[in-house]
Protein backbone atom coordinates (compact mmCIF):
# COMPACT_ATOMS: atom_id res chain seq x y z
CA UNK A 1 0.00 0.00 0.00
CA UNK A 2 2.64 2.47 1.10
CA UNK A 3 6.28 2.04 0.13
CA UNK A 4 9.12 4.42 0.97
CA UNK A 5 12.13 3.64 -1.16
CA UNK A 6 15.29 5.45 0.03
CA UNK A 7 13.38 8.65 0.48
CA UNK A 8 15.27 11.82 1.42
CA UNK A 9 14.00 15.30 1.98
CA UNK A 10 16.23 18.34 2.20
CA UNK A 11 14.54 21.71 2.73
CA UNK A 12 15.70 24.76 0.79
CA UNK A 13 17.55 26.04 3.87
CA UNK A 14 19.74 22.91 3.70
CA UNK A 15 18.11 21.14 6.64
CA UNK A 16 17.93 17.40 6.00
CA UNK A 17 14.59 16.30 7.46
CA UNK A 18 14.67 12.70 6.15
CA UNK A 19 17.70 10.58 5.16
CA UNK A 20 17.08 7.64 2.86
CA UNK A 21 14.10 6.26 4.71
CA UNK A 22 12.75 2.92 3.49
CA UNK A 23 9.77 0.98 4.76
CA UNK A 24 6.64 -0.71 3.55
CA UNK A 25 3.10 -0.89 4.90
CA UNK A 26 0.55 -3.43 3.74
CA UNK A 27 -3.04 -2.65 3.04
CA UNK A 28 -5.00 -2.66 6.33
CA UNK A 29 -1.88 -2.42 8.45
CA UNK A 30 -1.57 0.00 11.35
CA UNK A 31 1.69 1.53 12.55
CA UNK A 32 2.96 4.28 14.80
CA UNK A 33 5.59 6.78 13.84
CA UNK A 34 7.55 8.13 16.76
CA UNK A 35 10.65 10.10 17.60
CA UNK A 36 11.62 13.43 19.15
CA UNK A 37 10.26 16.60 17.69
CA UNK A 38 12.35 17.49 14.66
CA UNK A 39 13.07 13.82 13.95
CA UNK A 40 11.12 14.00 10.68
CA UNK A 41 7.67 12.65 11.61
CA UNK A 42 5.77 15.62 10.21
CA UNK A 43 7.90 15.72 7.06
CA UNK A 44 7.20 12.04 6.44
CA UNK A 45 3.45 12.64 6.73
CA UNK A 46 3.69 15.73 4.52
CA UNK A 47 5.36 13.63 1.83
CA UNK A 48 2.46 11.19 2.06
CA UNK A 49 -0.03 14.05 1.71
CA UNK A 50 1.96 15.54 -1.19
CA UNK A 51 2.35 18.80 0.71
CA UNK A 52 6.09 18.33 0.26
CA UNK A 53 7.95 16.52 -2.50
CA UNK A 54 10.96 14.30 -1.75
CA UNK A 55 14.43 15.42 -2.77
CA UNK A 56 15.39 11.88 -3.79
CA UNK A 57 14.01 8.35 -3.63
CA UNK A 58 10.66 6.89 -4.62
CA UNK A 59 7.30 7.02 -2.90
CA UNK A 60 4.93 4.33 -4.07
CA UNK A 61 1.25 4.20 -3.17
CA UNK A 62 -0.58 1.09 -4.38
CA UNK A 63 2.39 0.37 -6.60
CA UNK A 64 2.20 3.77 -8.25
CA UNK A 65 5.09 6.19 -8.02
CA UNK A 66 3.50 9.42 -6.84
CA UNK A 67 6.66 11.48 -7.23
CA UNK A 68 5.68 12.15 -10.79
CA UNK A 69 2.07 13.07 -10.03
CA UNK A 70 1.27 16.42 -11.69
CA UNK A 71 -0.13 19.31 -9.67
CA UNK A 72 -3.56 18.91 -11.22
CA UNK A 73 -3.75 15.26 -10.09
CA UNK A 74 -2.82 16.00 -6.47
CA UNK A 75 -6.41 16.77 -5.33
CA UNK A 76 -7.58 13.39 -6.62
CA UNK A 77 -4.76 11.62 -4.80
CA UNK A 78 -5.63 13.42 -1.56
CA UNK A 79 -9.21 12.16 -1.82
CA UNK A 80 -7.89 8.65 -1.14
CA UNK A 81 -6.16 9.82 2.01
CA UNK A 82 -7.71 10.92 5.30
CA UNK A 83 -5.71 13.20 7.57
CA UNK A 84 -6.11 14.00 11.26
CA UNK A 85 -4.19 17.01 12.57
CA UNK A 86 -2.92 17.79 16.02
CA UNK A 87 -4.76 21.11 16.07
CA UNK A 88 -7.72 19.40 14.33
CA UNK A 89 -8.01 22.24 11.72
CA UNK A 90 -11.76 22.63 12.04
CA UNK A 91 -13.56 25.65 10.64
CA UNK A 92 -15.45 27.61 13.25
CA UNK A 93 -17.66 29.46 10.79
CA UNK A 94 -19.82 26.37 10.21
CA UNK A 95 -21.45 23.48 12.04
CA UNK A 96 -19.90 20.12 12.91
CA UNK A 97 -21.96 18.57 10.12
CA UNK A 98 -20.61 21.01 7.51
CA UNK A 99 -17.05 20.49 8.69
CA UNK A 100 -17.32 16.75 8.25
CA UNK A 101 -19.15 17.16 4.92
CA UNK A 102 -16.26 19.14 3.37
CA UNK A 103 -14.32 16.21 1.81
CA UNK A 104 -17.56 14.88 0.28
CA UNK A 105 -18.59 18.27 -1.13
CA UNK A 106 -15.14 18.63 -2.62
CA UNK A 107 -15.47 15.23 -4.32
CA UNK A 108 -18.89 16.07 -5.71
CA UNK A 109 -21.21 13.81 -3.72
CA UNK A 110 -24.94 14.53 -3.95
CA UNK A 111 -26.59 16.24 -0.96
CA UNK A 112 -28.56 13.17 0.14
CA UNK A 113 -25.45 11.02 -0.06
CA UNK A 114 -23.53 13.58 1.95
CA UNK A 115 -26.16 13.57 4.70
CA UNK A 116 -26.07 9.79 4.99
CA UNK A 117 -22.29 9.50 4.99
CA UNK A 118 -21.67 12.39 7.37
CA UNK A 119 -24.11 10.91 9.91
CA UNK A 120 -22.45 7.51 9.57
CA UNK A 121 -19.03 9.09 10.20
CA UNK A 122 -20.27 11.12 13.16
CA UNK A 123 -21.93 8.00 14.53
CA UNK A 124 -18.65 6.11 14.27
CA UNK A 125 -16.93 8.67 16.52
CA UNK A 126 -19.96 8.91 18.84
CA UNK A 127 -20.90 12.50 18.03
CA UNK A 128 -24.12 12.05 16.09
CA UNK A 129 -26.02 14.27 18.53
CA UNK A 130 -23.59 17.17 17.96
CA UNK A 131 -23.99 17.63 14.21
CA UNK A 132 -25.71 21.00 14.49
CA UNK A 133 -23.25 22.44 17.02
CA UNK A 134 -20.44 24.78 16.17
CA UNK A 135 -17.13 22.96 16.82
CA UNK A 136 -16.06 25.80 19.12
CA UNK A 137 -18.72 24.65 21.62
CA UNK A 138 -17.15 21.19 21.87
CA UNK A 139 -14.42 19.96 24.21
CA UNK A 140 -10.89 19.27 22.96
CA UNK A 141 -11.51 15.52 22.74
CA UNK A 142 -14.77 16.03 20.89
CA UNK A 143 -13.15 18.43 18.45
CA UNK A 144 -10.48 15.86 17.72
CA UNK A 145 -13.17 13.26 17.08
CA UNK A 146 -14.89 15.64 14.65
CA UNK A 147 -11.50 15.92 12.93
CA UNK A 148 -11.33 12.12 12.73
CA UNK A 149 -14.88 11.92 11.36
CA UNK A 150 -13.86 14.38 8.65
CA UNK A 151 -10.78 12.30 7.87
CA UNK A 152 -12.76 9.07 7.38
CA UNK A 153 -16.07 10.34 5.99
CA UNK A 154 -15.05 9.65 2.38
CA UNK A 155 -13.79 6.12 3.26
CA UNK A 156 -10.12 6.75 2.50
CA UNK A 157 -7.82 3.80 1.93
CA UNK A 158 -5.10 5.50 3.97
CA UNK A 159 -5.59 7.33 7.25
CA UNK A 160 -2.77 9.56 8.49
CA UNK A 161 -2.69 11.26 11.89
CA UNK A 162 -0.17 13.84 13.10
CA UNK A 163 -0.02 13.89 16.92
CA UNK A 164 -3.77 13.31 17.20
CA UNK A 165 -3.61 13.09 21.00
CA UNK A 166 -1.17 15.94 21.49
CA UNK A 167 -3.46 18.05 23.62
CA UNK A 168 -5.56 15.35 25.27
CA UNK A 169 -5.42 13.62 28.65
CA UNK A 170 -4.46 9.88 28.79
CA UNK A 171 -8.07 8.65 29.06
CA UNK A 172 -9.19 10.58 25.95
CA UNK A 173 -5.99 9.68 24.13
CA UNK A 174 -6.65 5.97 24.68
CA UNK A 175 -10.19 6.40 23.30
CA UNK A 176 -8.86 8.14 20.21
CA UNK A 177 -6.33 5.33 19.61
CA UNK A 178 -9.12 2.74 19.97
CA UNK A 179 -10.97 4.62 17.30
CA UNK A 180 -8.01 4.37 14.91
CA UNK A 181 -7.77 0.68 15.69
CA UNK A 182 -11.40 0.25 14.64
CA UNK A 183 -10.72 1.85 11.28
CA UNK A 184 -7.82 -0.53 10.80
CA UNK A 185 -10.23 -3.38 11.55
CA UNK A 186 -12.29 -2.44 8.50
CA UNK A 187 -9.30 -2.45 6.18
CA UNK A 188 -7.93 1.09 6.33
CA UNK A 189 -4.15 1.51 6.36
CA UNK A 190 -3.45 3.67 9.42
CA UNK A 191 -0.24 5.57 10.19
CA UNK A 192 -0.20 7.61 13.41
CA UNK A 193 2.63 9.96 14.34
CA UNK A 194 2.90 10.36 18.08
CA UNK A 195 5.56 10.97 20.72
CA UNK A 196 3.32 9.54 23.46
CA UNK A 197 5.59 6.50 24.06
CA UNK A 198 3.61 5.10 26.97
CA UNK A 199 0.39 5.10 25.01
CA UNK A 200 1.74 3.50 21.86
CA UNK A 201 3.67 0.85 23.76
CA UNK A 202 0.38 -0.23 25.29
CA UNK A 203 -1.15 -0.67 21.83
CA UNK A 204 1.31 -3.49 21.02
CA UNK A 205 1.65 -2.63 17.35
CA UNK A 206 4.29 -1.88 14.76
CA UNK A 207 6.37 1.12 15.72
CA UNK A 208 8.75 3.08 13.47
CA UNK A 209 11.11 5.40 15.26
CA UNK A 210 12.82 8.28 13.50
CA UNK A 211 15.96 9.91 14.82
CA UNK A 212 17.43 12.94 13.06
CA UNK A 213 15.76 11.95 9.84
CA UNK A 214 16.80 8.31 9.91
CA UNK A 215 14.60 5.32 10.59
CA UNK A 216 16.36 3.72 13.58
CA UNK A 217 13.75 1.21 14.69
CA UNK A 218 10.99 -0.62 12.82
CA UNK A 219 9.15 -3.39 14.64
CA UNK A 220 6.54 -4.33 17.21
CA UNK A 221 6.91 -2.79 20.65
CA UNK A 222 9.99 -1.10 22.11
CA UNK A 223 9.06 2.41 21.31
CA UNK A 224 11.53 3.55 23.98
CA UNK A 225 15.11 2.52 24.41
Amino acid sequence: MIRFDNLSKRYTGGFEALRSVSFEMDSGEMAFLTGHSGAGKSTLLKLLMLIERPTSGNLLINGKNINRLSASKIPFYRRQVGVVFQNHQLLFDRSVFENVALPLQVSGYSPSDIGRRVRAALDSVGLLDREKHNPIELSGGEQQRVGIARAVVHKPKILLADEPTGNLDPQLSAEIMDLFKRFQDVGVTVLVASHDINLINKMNMRIMRLNQGELEWDGVGHGND
Binding site: R78, L102, G108, V186
Partner: protein
Protein backbone atom coordinates in the same frame (compact mmCIF):
# COMPACT_ATOMS: atom_id res chain seq x y z
CA UNK B 1 -20.12 7.92 27.71
CA UNK B 2 -20.91 8.24 24.06
CA UNK B 3 -17.91 6.10 23.27
CA UNK B 4 -18.90 3.18 25.51
CA UNK B 5 -22.45 3.45 24.33
CA UNK B 6 -21.20 3.26 20.80
CA UNK B 7 -18.97 0.26 21.37
CA UNK B 8 -21.97 -2.02 21.88
CA UNK B 9 -22.88 -1.34 18.26
CA UNK B 10 -19.31 -1.61 17.03
CA UNK B 11 -19.57 -4.79 15.01
CA UNK B 12 -22.76 -3.71 13.33
CA UNK B 13 -21.13 -0.46 12.42
CA UNK B 14 -18.00 -1.95 10.95
CA UNK B 15 -20.12 -4.02 8.58
CA UNK B 16 -21.80 -0.86 7.46
CA UNK B 17 -18.44 0.79 6.95
CA UNK B 18 -17.18 -2.05 4.84
CA UNK B 19 -20.20 -2.01 2.60
CA UNK B 20 -19.78 1.72 2.23
CA UNK B 21 -16.13 1.31 1.34
CA UNK B 22 -16.97 -0.93 -1.56
CA UNK B 23 -19.79 1.31 -2.78
CA UNK B 24 -17.84 4.52 -2.51
CA UNK B 25 -17.62 5.16 -6.26
CA UNK B 26 -19.84 8.09 -7.18
CA UNK B 27 -22.17 7.54 -10.14
CA UNK B 28 -22.20 10.04 -12.95
CA UNK B 29 -25.75 11.18 -12.19
CA UNK B 30 -24.91 11.66 -8.52
CA UNK B 31 -21.82 13.59 -9.53
CA UNK B 32 -23.89 15.89 -11.76
CA UNK B 33 -26.44 16.40 -8.97
CA UNK B 34 -23.67 17.15 -6.51
CA UNK B 35 -22.08 19.54 -9.00
CA UNK B 36 -25.35 21.40 -9.56
CA UNK B 37 -26.03 21.53 -5.87
CA UNK B 38 -22.51 22.76 -5.24
CA UNK B 39 -22.88 25.58 -7.75
CA UNK B 40 -26.21 26.62 -6.28
CA UNK B 41 -24.97 26.60 -2.70
CA UNK B 42 -21.73 28.36 -3.71
CA UNK B 43 -23.74 31.13 -5.36
CA UNK B 44 -26.01 31.37 -2.32
CA UNK B 45 -23.16 31.47 0.15
CA UNK B 46 -21.25 34.02 -1.95
CA UNK B 47 -24.36 36.19 -1.88
CA UNK B 48 -24.83 35.63 1.86
CA UNK B 49 -21.20 36.60 2.50
CA UNK B 50 -21.75 39.85 0.60
CA UNK B 51 -24.78 40.63 2.76
CA UNK B 52 -22.74 40.00 5.90
CA UNK B 53 -20.81 43.19 5.15
CA UNK B 54 -23.59 45.38 3.75
CA UNK B 55 -21.75 48.69 3.89
CA UNK B 56 -18.59 47.41 2.23
CA UNK B 57 -20.65 45.64 -0.42
CA UNK B 58 -22.79 48.70 -1.13
CA UNK B 59 -19.69 50.87 -1.47
CA UNK B 60 -18.11 48.49 -3.97
CA UNK B 61 -21.34 48.13 -5.95
CA UNK B 62 -21.81 51.91 -6.17
CA UNK B 63 -18.22 52.45 -7.33
CA UNK B 64 -18.71 49.82 -10.04
CA UNK B 65 -22.08 51.34 -10.96
CA UNK B 66 -20.60 54.83 -11.42
CA UNK B 67 -17.75 53.44 -13.50
CA UNK B 68 -20.27 51.67 -15.74
CA UNK B 69 -22.71 54.61 -15.87
CA UNK B 70 -20.26 57.17 -17.26
CA UNK B 71 -19.33 55.48 -20.54
CA UNK B 72 -22.86 54.14 -21.01
CA UNK B 73 -24.37 57.63 -20.60
CA UNK B 74 -21.89 59.03 -23.11
CA UNK B 75 -22.69 56.18 -25.50
CA UNK B 76 -26.42 56.88 -25.21
CA UNK B 77 -25.79 60.59 -25.88
CA UNK B 78 -23.80 59.85 -29.00
CA UNK B 79 -26.49 57.46 -30.23
CA UNK B 80 -29.18 60.09 -29.63
CA UNK B 81 -27.26 62.76 -31.54
CA UNK B 82 -26.72 60.31 -34.36
CA UNK B 83 -30.43 59.65 -34.52
CA UNK B 84 -31.10 63.37 -34.58
CA UNK B 85 -28.63 63.92 -37.40
CA UNK B 86 -30.17 60.94 -39.17
CA UNK B 87 -33.42 62.93 -39.32
CA UNK B 88 -31.55 65.82 -40.88
CA UNK B 89 -29.73 63.59 -43.35
CA UNK B 90 -32.97 62.29 -44.76
CA UNK B 91 -34.00 65.88 -45.52
CA UNK B 92 -30.82 66.54 -47.48
CA UNK B 93 -31.89 67.39 -51.00
CA UNK B 94 -30.21 67.89 -54.34
CA UNK B 95 -31.19 71.09 -56.14
CA UNK B 96 -31.20 70.70 -59.94
CA UNK B 97 -31.31 73.94 -61.93
CA UNK B 98 -32.60 73.73 -65.49
CA UNK B 99 -30.98 75.64 -68.36
CA UNK B 100 -32.68 78.86 -69.32
CA UNK B 101 -35.05 78.74 -72.25
CA UNK B 102 -35.95 75.10 -72.01
CA UNK B 103 -39.40 74.32 -73.32
CA UNK B 104 -42.02 73.22 -70.85
CA UNK B 105 -42.44 69.82 -72.52
CA UNK B 106 -38.69 69.20 -72.20
CA UNK B 107 -38.81 70.27 -68.55
CA UNK B 108 -41.63 67.83 -67.87
CA UNK B 109 -39.61 65.08 -69.57
CA UNK B 110 -36.58 65.97 -67.46
CA UNK B 111 -38.72 65.59 -64.33
CA UNK B 112 -39.68 62.06 -65.38
CA UNK B 113 -36.07 61.27 -66.23
CA UNK B 114 -34.91 62.37 -62.79
CA UNK B 115 -37.62 60.38 -61.07
CA UNK B 116 -36.53 57.26 -62.97
CA UNK B 117 -32.90 57.51 -61.89
CA UNK B 118 -31.86 54.78 -59.47
CA UNK B 119 -31.37 55.96 -55.89
CA UNK B 120 -33.94 58.70 -56.15
CA UNK B 121 -36.70 58.76 -53.56
CA UNK B 122 -38.80 61.63 -54.90
CA UNK B 123 -38.64 64.61 -57.22
CA UNK B 124 -40.41 67.91 -56.64
CA UNK B 125 -40.75 70.48 -59.42
CA UNK B 126 -40.61 74.16 -58.53
CA UNK B 127 -41.43 76.27 -61.57
CA UNK B 128 -39.70 79.58 -62.15
CA UNK B 129 -42.98 81.41 -61.48
CA UNK B 130 -43.51 79.68 -58.14
CA UNK B 131 -39.95 80.38 -57.15
CA UNK B 132 -40.41 84.04 -57.96
CA UNK B 133 -43.58 84.21 -55.90
CA UNK B 134 -41.82 82.60 -52.94
CA UNK B 135 -38.88 84.93 -53.32
CA UNK B 136 -41.25 87.88 -53.45
CA UNK B 137 -43.02 86.79 -50.30
CA UNK B 138 -39.98 85.82 -48.25
CA UNK B 139 -37.11 88.08 -49.27
CA UNK B 140 -38.68 91.52 -49.14
CA UNK B 141 -36.97 92.45 -52.43
CA UNK B 142 -40.24 92.09 -54.31
CA UNK B 143 -40.28 95.70 -55.47
CA UNK B 144 -36.78 95.40 -56.94
CA UNK B 145 -37.88 92.52 -59.14
CA UNK B 146 -40.43 94.71 -60.82
CA UNK B 147 -37.58 96.44 -62.62
CA UNK B 148 -36.42 93.25 -64.27
CA UNK B 149 -37.74 92.39 -67.71
CA UNK B 150 -37.97 88.72 -67.14
CA UNK B 151 -37.93 86.19 -64.32
CA UNK B 152 -34.25 85.65 -63.40
CA UNK B 153 -34.97 82.43 -61.49
CA UNK B 154 -34.48 79.08 -63.21
CA UNK B 155 -36.83 76.14 -63.27
CA UNK B 156 -35.79 73.89 -60.38
CA UNK B 157 -36.18 70.27 -59.32
CA UNK B 158 -35.64 69.13 -55.74
CA UNK B 159 -34.35 65.57 -55.81
CA UNK B 160 -34.56 63.54 -52.60
CA UNK B 161 -31.93 60.74 -52.59
CA UNK B 162 -32.73 57.40 -51.00
CA UNK B 163 -29.35 57.21 -49.28
CA UNK B 164 -27.09 60.06 -48.32
CA UNK B 165 -24.03 58.09 -49.34
CA UNK B 166 -25.33 57.73 -52.90
CA UNK B 167 -25.97 61.43 -53.35
CA UNK B 168 -22.51 62.27 -54.70
CA UNK B 169 -22.91 59.62 -57.42
CA UNK B 170 -26.38 60.92 -58.12
CA UNK B 171 -25.09 64.48 -58.49
CA UNK B 172 -22.53 63.33 -61.06
CA UNK B 173 -25.19 61.46 -62.98
CA UNK B 174 -27.57 64.42 -63.02
CA UNK B 175 -24.76 66.72 -64.14
CA UNK B 176 -24.45 64.77 -67.40
CA UNK B 177 -28.03 65.43 -68.44
CA UNK B 178 -27.93 68.09 -71.19
CA UNK B 179 -30.78 70.20 -69.95
CA UNK B 180 -29.24 70.57 -66.50
CA UNK B 181 -27.44 73.82 -65.83
CA UNK B 182 -26.16 73.22 -62.32
CA UNK B 183 -26.54 70.78 -59.40
CA UNK B 184 -26.05 71.68 -55.77
CA UNK B 185 -25.67 69.46 -52.76
CA UNK B 186 -24.89 71.17 -49.49
CA UNK B 187 -23.88 68.55 -46.96
CA UNK B 188 -20.51 69.74 -45.72
CA UNK B 189 -21.90 70.36 -42.22
CA UNK B 190 -23.39 66.86 -42.18
CA UNK B 191 -19.95 65.43 -42.89
CA UNK B 192 -18.53 67.48 -40.02
CA UNK B 193 -21.21 66.23 -37.66
CA UNK B 194 -20.47 62.67 -38.75
CA UNK B 195 -16.77 63.15 -38.01
CA UNK B 196 -17.62 64.66 -34.63
CA UNK B 197 -19.79 61.65 -33.81
CA UNK B 198 -16.92 59.36 -34.75
CA UNK B 199 -14.74 61.22 -32.26
CA UNK B 200 -17.50 60.81 -29.69
CA UNK B 201 -17.73 57.08 -30.29
CA UNK B 202 -13.97 56.70 -29.91
CA UNK B 203 -14.14 58.67 -26.66
CA UNK B 204 -16.83 56.27 -25.43
CA UNK B 205 -14.56 53.33 -26.20
CA UNK B 206 -11.54 54.88 -24.49
CA UNK B 207 -13.56 55.86 -21.43
CA UNK B 208 -15.17 52.42 -21.27
CA UNK B 209 -11.77 50.73 -21.48
CA UNK B 210 -10.26 52.93 -18.77
CA UNK B 211 -13.20 52.55 -16.41
CA UNK B 212 -13.50 48.84 -17.21
CA UNK B 213 -9.92 48.39 -16.01
CA UNK B 214 -10.90 50.43 -12.95
CA UNK B 215 -13.80 48.07 -12.22
CA UNK B 216 -11.52 45.05 -12.65
CA UNK B 217 -9.11 46.52 -10.11
CA UNK B 218 -11.87 47.40 -7.63
CA UNK B 219 -13.35 43.91 -7.81
CA UNK B 220 -9.88 42.37 -7.75
CA UNK B 221 -9.11 44.16 -4.51
CA UNK B 222 -12.43 43.12 -2.94
CA UNK B 223 -11.76 39.51 -3.89
CA UNK B 224 -8.22 39.73 -2.53
CA UNK B 225 -9.61 40.69 0.87
CA UNK B 226 -12.15 37.86 0.66
CA UNK B 227 -9.40 35.36 -0.17
CA UNK B 228 -7.29 36.52 2.77
CA UNK B 229 -10.19 36.25 5.20
CA UNK B 230 -10.87 32.68 4.05
CA UNK B 231 -7.29 31.50 4.08
CA UNK B 232 -7.88 28.70 6.63
CA UNK B 233 -10.78 27.36 4.65
CA UNK B 234 -8.75 27.34 1.44
CA UNK B 235 -5.94 25.37 3.12
CA UNK B 236 -8.32 22.74 4.49
CA UNK B 237 -10.25 22.40 1.25
CA UNK B 238 -6.97 21.82 -0.57
CA UNK B 239 -5.93 19.24 2.03
CA UNK B 240 -9.11 17.21 1.65
CA UNK B 241 -8.72 17.11 -2.13
CA UNK B 242 -10.42 20.25 -3.39
CA UNK B 243 -9.30 21.15 -6.91
CA UNK B 244 -8.19 24.67 -7.79
CA UNK B 245 -11.45 25.09 -9.68
CA UNK B 246 -13.38 24.19 -6.55
CA UNK B 247 -11.41 26.63 -4.42
CA UNK B 248 -11.72 29.56 -6.78
CA UNK B 249 -15.40 29.05 -7.62
CA UNK B 250 -16.90 31.01 -4.68
CA UNK B 251 -14.61 33.94 -5.45
CA UNK B 252 -15.52 33.94 -9.13
CA UNK B 253 -19.19 33.93 -8.16
CA UNK B 254 -18.58 36.86 -5.82
CA UNK B 255 -16.94 38.82 -8.65
CA UNK B 256 -19.80 37.93 -10.99
CA UNK B 257 -22.38 39.11 -8.45
CA UNK B 258 -20.53 42.39 -7.84
CA UNK B 259 -20.45 43.01 -11.59
CA UNK B 260 -24.15 42.17 -11.95
CA UNK B 261 -25.26 44.38 -9.08
CA UNK B 262 -23.01 47.20 -10.26
CA UNK B 263 -24.54 47.00 -13.75
CA UNK B 264 -28.03 46.86 -12.28
CA UNK B 265 -27.47 49.98 -10.19
CA UNK B 266 -25.87 51.65 -13.24
CA UNK B 267 -29.06 50.91 -15.22
CA UNK B 268 -31.14 52.48 -12.45
CA UNK B 269 -28.91 55.56 -12.52
CA UNK B 270 -29.34 55.85 -16.28
CA UNK B 271 -33.12 55.58 -16.01
CA UNK B 272 -33.04 58.33 -13.37
CA UNK B 273 -30.82 60.47 -15.61
CA UNK B 274 -33.26 59.92 -18.47
CA UNK B 275 -36.22 61.11 -16.43
CA UNK B 276 -34.27 64.10 -15.21
CA UNK B 277 -33.28 65.18 -18.73
CA UNK B 278 -36.49 64.27 -20.52
CA UNK B 279 -38.38 67.52 -19.89
CA UNK B 280 -35.50 69.83 -20.82
CA UNK B 281 -34.80 67.85 -23.97
CA UNK B 282 -38.39 67.86 -25.16
CA UNK B 283 -38.56 71.62 -24.51
CA UNK B 284 -35.40 72.11 -26.53
CA UNK B 285 -36.85 69.96 -29.30
CA UNK B 286 -40.10 71.90 -29.34
CA UNK B 287 -38.13 75.14 -29.76
CA UNK B 288 -36.67 73.62 -32.94
CA UNK B 289 -40.11 72.32 -33.93
CA UNK B 290 -38.76 68.82 -33.75
CA UNK B 291 -40.49 65.62 -32.68
CA UNK B 292 -37.20 64.40 -31.20
CA UNK B 293 -37.42 62.36 -27.97
CA UNK B 294 -34.61 60.94 -25.87
CA UNK B 295 -33.94 57.25 -26.47
CA UNK B 296 -32.82 55.52 -23.30
CA UNK B 297 -30.94 52.28 -22.66
CA UNK B 298 -33.83 50.03 -23.72
CA UNK B 299 -34.34 46.44 -22.64
CA UNK B 300 -31.65 44.94 -24.86
CA UNK B 301 -29.27 47.68 -23.74
CA UNK B 302 -30.08 46.80 -20.13
CA UNK B 303 -29.32 43.12 -20.78
CA UNK B 304 -26.09 44.03 -22.58
CA UNK B 305 -25.06 46.21 -19.64
CA UNK B 306 -25.75 43.31 -17.24
CA UNK B 307 -23.65 40.94 -19.37
CA UNK B 308 -20.81 43.45 -19.59
CA UNK B 309 -20.98 44.00 -15.82
CA UNK B 310 -20.91 40.26 -15.20
CA UNK B 311 -17.98 39.69 -17.56
CA UNK B 312 -15.97 42.56 -16.07
CA UNK B 313 -16.74 41.29 -12.55
CA UNK B 314 -15.66 37.79 -13.47
CA UNK B 315 -12.47 39.14 -15.05
CA UNK B 316 -11.64 41.11 -11.89
CA UNK B 317 -12.17 38.04 -9.71
CA UNK B 318 -10.09 35.92 -12.08
CA UNK B 319 -7.16 38.32 -12.00
CA UNK B 320 -7.25 38.43 -8.21
CA UNK B 321 -7.60 34.67 -7.81
CA UNK B 322 -4.65 34.08 -10.14
CA UNK B 323 -2.54 36.49 -8.14
CA UNK B 324 -3.43 35.55 -4.60
CA UNK B 325 -5.02 32.13 -4.34
CA UNK B 326 -2.20 30.03 -5.66
CA UNK B 327 0.13 31.39 -2.99
CA UNK B 328 -2.00 29.71 -0.37
CA UNK B 329 -0.71 26.18 0.09
CA UNK B 330 -1.08 23.77 2.97
CA UNK B 331 2.03 23.61 5.17
Amino acid sequence: MAMTNHKSRGSQHSQQTQRGARGSAVSRLDRWRGYKHHHRTTLQSSFAKMLQEPFQTLLTVVVIAIALTLPTALYISVENIRQLSGGVESSAQISVFVKKGARSAAIEKLGEQLANLSGVASVTHISAATALEEFNALSGFGSALQYLDENPLPETFLVQPLLLNDSAKLVAKIHKITLVDDVQLDMEWLRRLGALLDVGRKLVLALAAALGIGVILVIGNTIRLAIQSRRDEIVIVKLVGGTDAYVRRPFLYTGLLFGFFGAFVAALMLVGLGFWLEESVSELASLYQSQFRLTGLGFSGFLTLLVIGGVVGLAGAWVSVRQHMYDIKPR
